[in-house]
Symmetry: D2
Subunit: 249 residues, 4 copies
Amino acid sequence: MPIDLNCDCGEGFGPWPLGDDAALLPHVTSANIACGGHAGDPDTMRRTVRLAHELGVKIGAHPGYPDLLGFGRRVLPLRPAELTNSLLAQLGALAALVRAEQATLHHVKPHGALYNQAAIDAIVAQALVEAVVSFDRQLVLVALANSVLEEVGRAAGLVVAREAFADRAYESDGTLRPRHLAGALILDHAQNLAQTLMIVREQQVRAYDGTLVPLHAETICLHGDMPGAAARAAFLRRELVGQGVLLFK
Amino acid sequence: MPIDLNCDCGEGFGPWPLGDDAALLPHVTSANIACGGHAGDPDTMRRTVRLAHELGVKIGAHPGYPDLLGFGRRVLPLRPAELTNSLLAQLGALAALVRAEQATLHHVKPHGALYNQAAIDAIVAQALVEAVVSFDRQLVLVALANSVLEEVGRAAGLVVAREAFADRAYESDGTLRPRHLAGALILDHAQNLAQTLMIVREQQVRAYDGTLVPLHAETICLHGDMPGAAARAAFLRRELVGQGVLLFK
Amino acid sequence: MPIDLNCDCGEGFGPWPLGDDAALLPHVTSANIACGGHAGDPDTMRRTVRLAHELGVKIGAHPGYPDLLGFGRRVLPLRPAELTNSLLAQLGALAALVRAEQATLHHVKPHGALYNQAAIDAIVAQALVEAVVSFDRQLVLVALANSVLEEVGRAAGLVVAREAFADRAYESDGTLRPRHLAGALILDHAQNLAQTLMIVREQQVRAYDGTLVPLHAETICLHGDMPGAAARAAFLRRELVGQGVLLFK
Amino acid sequence: MPIDLNCDCGEGFGPWPLGDDAALLPHVTSANIACGGHAGDPDTMRRTVRLAHELGVKIGAHPGYPDLLGFGRRVLPLRPAELTNSLLAQLGALAALVRAEQATLHHVKPHGALYNQAAIDAIVAQALVEAVVSFDRQLVLVALANSVLEEVGRAAGLVVAREAFADRAYESDGTLRPRHLAGALILDHAQNLAQTLMIVREQQVRAYDGTLVPLHAETICLHGDMPGAAARAAFLRRELVGQGVLLFK
């Protein structure tokens, strides 16, 4: 059972970098690159595409609400068609830079508030899926496992990669433990590995309260903004390979 | 000898329209649609693409310096790679909306200060041509006849459509008579037609001072922001068809 | 009993104008000038300030949600302090241009979604009032009559000018009849006048269903974007003066 | 002879910080705060104003060309009135947030390309001085020593604080040694101190080639983006105090 490791990247803007893509990308198999909506400008986008391409990492679009100041972390009240059109423009912008680097666009993973909203709101999920389908129905859609977006994407005929987390705790209902609660972040490398292995081998996860929760996932997200992100990613990848868990490439 | 009539369009932004695309587009054969750089937002872009597509008008990208407040009318000191990347992002954004409308992108015509600068500055022309070539070398490049851009585009293997003007006077050196001088604008319909016919049939134009100037052009630009633009376009098209001048479609 | 006539203005951006300020401003006594949040750029702001100042019209700030593309017509989920700071920056920007014209800033009237939201949501109203109070507590706050904003503004010690409408119908509960319903807009000049006179002389308005509704207002809004706006304003002002209703100046 | 130590700050935008203001500000006597033109958003501006105010550091505006993506490092071809109006809006925005913190605005120092251009171009200097004079002629203008801006500012009646550098080498003509040349940056603390003391006590500086160059300055700039900025500032301040050089406060 192969597993994919993904991270968000290219999330700087102009003079302002964010995270350390050069340190993190060598350890993942998929890169989600910001498209100018919540972050990213054409130069940053192209530089990040080139870096991922050189490393042989699969390139994905990471579109968000068009809101630089808010970094796509707040839900904007866009009409569905307006959201679809904004996402199409973002996908197209990134795809053009991917093409200029003679690389290939592989997947789409929504960012921040759009990711969260599309996971629970069928109208937002539909607006997003509509953008992907009308842009390129061969693209893989990355969605939170067990989310509304997973359903809506599949119903539209898209290949959906379900996403799980190595560095976040789960609640017994399968949702992520909110960041502000104790134990929400898993910083320990051994625990990151153990949670990932359980997801990959047993299709389940042990929730914060000890419950076993079913969880099918094809890709594991590594947060670039968590302390020690690159070291965590390096460890996880090395151990997964060492334990015979195949990585997508 | 067929001739093409083109106009710039989709140059509003959010709540602010510009020009009357619905009145002008039925009379042209090519539409140059703003791409979000100097004007245009995803909704405006899509609406304009749809309108052109329904009318059977060829759809082109109309990218410019990324400068909404200045409407792309001032030269921004971008590095060549930065300009190329900005233009790639603009082309890609429009192309995605074109694809969503199941239409086809046909050509690229730069806007405003970029059009003027690329006509005389080989570095800017090269940055623009680089964007077109690496995005899609099948796209036709619309360039001022006898400009640096025409040369650079052809040298890169692009099909170049040379542009001339029905509503602007020429100087004896083949350049456009500057707008602030008397007689720069040609508002009279009969004169618009006469100048167009001379360009199409004789490959020359009579300059403001009476000189005959050689001028080869495959497309005639109609300015949407000049008084009576739609009526001028309607007259010109009807007369050209009536006089047996074939229009590209 | 004097009455004030106000209109929103300066709502263009860069190359894009909106409404015809030069035609409307001579007929009002207060101008609400966009501050760069939902519309307006420094040049447009200064030009509009100068025009109002030359006409002897009172100058007010017309801040909105920072959202050019949406023209401030959608509620952005800003934290209260973030909204306050955005509004302070908008007030300060306009005030600087007012000072450069040696004019005086007189009032503040929120725009669009901010106006509507502050009328019903005490947290938004408080964030707005906080901005006005900490910027300049001598400024008059223009608020929808009978709104939450009116209350919150008064409680903070601000002078509040209650606003009513000459060109919009009212419901029997004192709210404005929604724009999409029949009869929402009052385009007839005689009716505009009659409604204004009833508000001024009787402190009441006849609702769409015939009910008499109490309504105290110190300022009447004239929408610049309604058909025949300048002619309506000219008629209304002339008749009010003719009938002895004093206008603030 | 007292001397002032200044640094640029508040140069983040939304989610993106820049430099470490909290580490640097305790060691300077003047803070130049970005105003939303090249960097800074209302929240960042207010937070930085508050920090400077709490530390008793003089608060200045640090306006720049309105160009977030380019961080104000490229010269935009604005008309003089357009530049003046943009700067007025920036000054006003910051001043409003200063007022909300019950602090006082003390000075204005232009940023990046605007600083450099105003140092050599009288039209740009005049546009900047025009903004300061019409906003508040009590504000101190910080200008490169011996620059066109110094002259233009003084001619307009402004108090000008001439700026020199502790961490940059000078050429024998009094200009700064360009950053790309060897020895342009002075990273050694003892040298930073020696250069500052020579400027303060002798009104001269030893250029890179050994020449002694006259240099009158009232304020010393410390770059927050140079390696070890906070430690350099701490050392310099402690030593200046220890050696009896009075610091403005």
